[in-house]
Amino acid sequence: MKKAGILMIIGSLLLLGLFKFPLWNIMLGAPQYPDPLGMNIYINGIEGVKEFDIQNIDNLNHYIGMKTIPKNHEMWEFEVFPKVILGMVILGVLLGIIGFLGKISYKWFLGWLILMSVLGILGMYDFNLWLIDYGSNLDPNAIMKYTQPDGSPMTYKPPLIGYQKMLNFDVDSWPAMGGYMMFAGMALVFVSFFVGKSEYKSLKDR
């Protein structure tokens, strides 16, 4: 199960990209912002794409009563996420090494993937909760109050993924480099499961 083990190790290591590159990116363009404002969401905090983007997004959001974008210490997630990811990397690498040595079944790789997926979905769920709060928990004294066509107050939740038009802004929310590395890593682990399976079979057939 040498190949599968190596794939498992590489796949888990790819998650380390999240410590260097953003997981997610949200860009806000508008007629007045030909050079769009943007935020990069890292597992340990939110940063502007350009140096003063966060300040400028906050400045715009205060008109419609949105809270300011949380600083790193203001969300427990930014404490916990790095630990979870690091834990998963260590676990994945260990599984890979043990698998490489042929001491455990390839099914453990699938187990890691399922755990990672569950954690990922939980993370997305949590992220979406924050987006909902951020976009709809508005200051009652907001300068500008817009309503939906049905009369209910307008909310400004950015899309979890994809494109959305919000007032004068075009909002794009997509995975970023760190996110893509994580998906690639998870895909590699998925592949390692099948490689491990075929390696196991050929071993058994011999």
């Binding site: 003063f52 400028n56 400045n59 008109y63 300068i143």
Partner: protein, 655 residues
């Protein structure tokens, strides 16, 4: 005889045909030169697209510098330089007032003439642009990252700073020559004693290559002629500087007649490297004088003015072999050197021919002492021995010559109102195009450097007449853009300018546009009265002086309610713009301000003084539409009687 009659007959026929055509088309032909059919397409810059060149056009008597896009001719910005500008507070705010200080006190105006862009190895590098004030002799340096006037230096012993501000090919020196000679030092004397007693100062101002900071290195005290224009040597003639002169007659009255008598005036050739060496070895004489040196500190945006009380003067006779006169026919105006540095063109404005001197021949004449007398001890070189050639009868009233990158020269003719293209070296006229009307300078981007960008030629015209919709007796001056990529020049566009564009300098946009600053970093703001965070907002009284430390951000002032101000106070509003985004300036204006409003760029601090004269509650507001809540960006100052005991108080957002 019969043949002659036939000729005459056919001439009449042709004349008839031409005049029939002209009847309808004269207006149209005149406007387009009859050639350019797709001219509109070639100057059209679609909405949102950028021009290919930045063009910097002197504002003449406006004292400013106009920034235009070429080829569209669109005005991008008027940069305030020598004149107060209520539009943004230049020369009115406490920070910028020192920039307009001179030895004559505060001079809020000037006559700006000749912009020149900094160079490295004779090629435009886009670090700075320099421009001269002609009236109260000054040279300004404008940074091309901020497009802001960063420094102004006054030129002492000078009057009519016209043969300025031209720079040597590594921006070692900015050179300023005096058009009017004067007594040096100034004294009470009879004007009639001008001849032999007045002096003409040619000033060499060194430029620090890192900061751009200017300092007068030396002044060459020349005979009392009028030093009209100048040009540095290029490439092989680098190290020399050439100045045209008129009034070598040294007349002091009715110059239009009396200064036009000599058959030849001079181009003064100055070997500045030789004089620099002389000065570096302790040569020259420190002479008492007074001039202002004004510097804008770009970290604080606060200008300071220093009066300097001496200048190093050099008598040309003390540096043998450094200064020579090249005889040049009839009151030469423009003095231009071709990109190779070999040819020195004297545009004799009262001559019908263009005289071209050879640099190689000049060196040879100096070497072999081919002199034709002297003037005040300065050798005059023999005209025939230095002559490279003559462009024969190209037009009337040649003023200025620029060059393209294909060995062609373009000379403007004021009297015959045309631009003439001729070949450097063969002196043959290749093309001529009329201009509307009476062109002064012409400009090709980089056309006075070693590397011209020979795509466009811009004529800056002195007379406008009927070119635009009439606006009463006072008209704008006009510029005209020609395409010079083909054999014939093609007129593409007319565009109006600010003040009077004497000369212009243009540079490919890509050299500077990406360096253009978008805003100032608040964390770099070193202004002594900056308020960088809301907790530092305050008001302090010191006798009758009140200092308001105010911040602004979309869309409120902090504070916006001020009480405790009294009639007779002098209120300093130190306003800091906390924005850190591109194109979010705020304005500040108070009712009854006796100065101006001011614009504060993001990250900067500016100060406006307000002296309330009437009791009441008076508003202030933001003048630059900054956001959807711009109209709400306002505040009140309560002004109490002079003897009131109301303490100072301030707030924002309190009931």
């Amino acid at each position: 005889m019969k043949k002659t009659i036939q000729y005459l007959f056919s001439l009449v026929l042709i004349a008839g045909l031409v005049s029939c055509n002209n009847g309808d088309n004269q207006k149209k032909l005149r406007g387009q030169g009859g050639l350019a059919t797709n001219a509109a397409e070639r100057v059209y810059v679609a909405p949102g697209e950028h021009d290919e060149y930045y063009g910097f056009f002197s504002g003449g008597f406006s004292g400013q510098l106009g920034v235009y896009g070429l080829p569209s001719g669109r005005l991008l910005k008027v940069l305030p330089v020598f004149s107060q500008n209520p539009e943004n507070g230049w020369g009115y705010t406490e920070e910028t007032k020192p920039m307009l200080n001179t030895s004559f006190g505060f001079v809020p105006w000037d006559d700006s003439h000749h912009p020149d862009i900094s160079q490295t190895d004779g090629v435009l590098d886009g670090r700075w642009i320099f421009i001269n004030g002609n009236n109260t002799p000054r040279i300004a340096r404008i940074g091309l990252e901020t497009f802001k006037t960063e420094e102004i230096i006054e030129i002492p012993n000078s009057a009519g700073n016209h043969s300025s501000s031209f720079i040597t090919e590594n921006t070692e020196y900015v050179v300023a020559g005096t058009r009017f000679s004067i007594p040096v030092p100034q004294r009470d004397m009879s004007i009639k004693e001008y001849k032999g007693n007045f002096k003409g100062a040619l000033t060499f101002i060194s430029v620090d290559q890192e900061t751009g900071r200017m300092a007068i290195k030396f002044q060459l005290m020349m005979p009392g002629f009028n030093y009209d224009l100048s040009h540095p040597g290029r490439d092989k003639s680098h190290g020399w500087f050439f100045f045209t002169t008129y009034n070598t007659e040294e007349s002091h009255t009715l110059l239009e007649v009396n200064a036009s008598q000599n058959d030849k005036d001079f181009i003064a050739a100055v070997n500045w490297k030789k004089i620099e060496e002389y000065v570096n070895n302790g040569g020259g004489k420190m002479t008492p004088t007074r001039y202002a040196h004004n510097v804008m500190d770009m970290d604080s945006h606060v200008a300071t003015s220093t009066i300097i009380e001496e200048v190093l003067t050099v008598d040309p006779l003390d540096v043998p072999g450094a200064v020579f006169f090249l005889p040049t026919p009839k009151s030469p105006h423009g003095c231009d050197v071709d990109p190779t540095g070999e040819y020195i063109i004297g545009n004799g404005k009262l001559s019908a021919d263009l005289t071209v001197h050879s640099f190689t021949k000049m060196l040879d004449a100096i070497e072999n002492e081919k002199f034709d007398g002297e003037a005040y001890g300065i050798p005059i070189l023999n005209f025939e021995d230095i002559l490279a050639g003559v462009v024969k009868q190209p037009g009337l009233g040649p003023l200025h010559t620029e060059f393209d990158d294909k060995g062609n020269a373009y000379t403007t003719f004021f009297i015959s109102s045309e631009v003439v293209k001729w070949k450097v070296g063969t002196w043959e006229v290749l093309d001529r195009q009329p201009v509307f009307y009476s062109v002064g300078h012409g400009m090709i981007p980089g056309g006075n450097s070693r590397k011209p960008f020979g795509k466009y030629f811009v004529a800056m015209n002195k007379i406008t007449k009927d070119r635009y919709l009439p606006t009463g007796p006072e008209l704008t001056h006009s510029a005209q853009l020609f395409d010079i990529t083909g054999d014939k020049m093609e007129l593409l566009l007319d565009f109006p300018t600010i003040g009077e564009p004497h000369y212009a300098a243009a540079i490919p946009a890509e050299i500077i546009k990406d360096k253009s600053k978008q805003f100032y970093r608040l964390s770099d703001n070193k202004h002594p009265h900056a308020t960088l965070k809301s907790s530092d907002v305050r008001i302090e009284r010191n006798g009758k002086e009140v200092h308001v430390y105010m911040t602004i951000i979309r869309s409120h002032f902090n504070p916006d309610n001020i009480e405790g101000i009294k009639v007779g106070d002098k209120v300093y509003f130190h306003v800091t713009n906390l924005e850190q985004d591109f194109d979010v300036p705020h304005g500040f204006a108070t009712i009854g301000a006796n100065n101006a409003e001011m614009l504060i760029m993001p990250g900067a601090t500016e100060t406006l003084v307000w002296e309330p004269k009437q009791v009441g509650v008076w508003p202030f507001y933001c003048t630059d539409f900054c956001s959807a809540l711009h109209q709400e960006m306002q505040g009140y100052v309560r002004v109490s009687p002079a003897d009131s005991n109301l303490p100072l108080s301030w707030s924002v957002g309190e009931d």
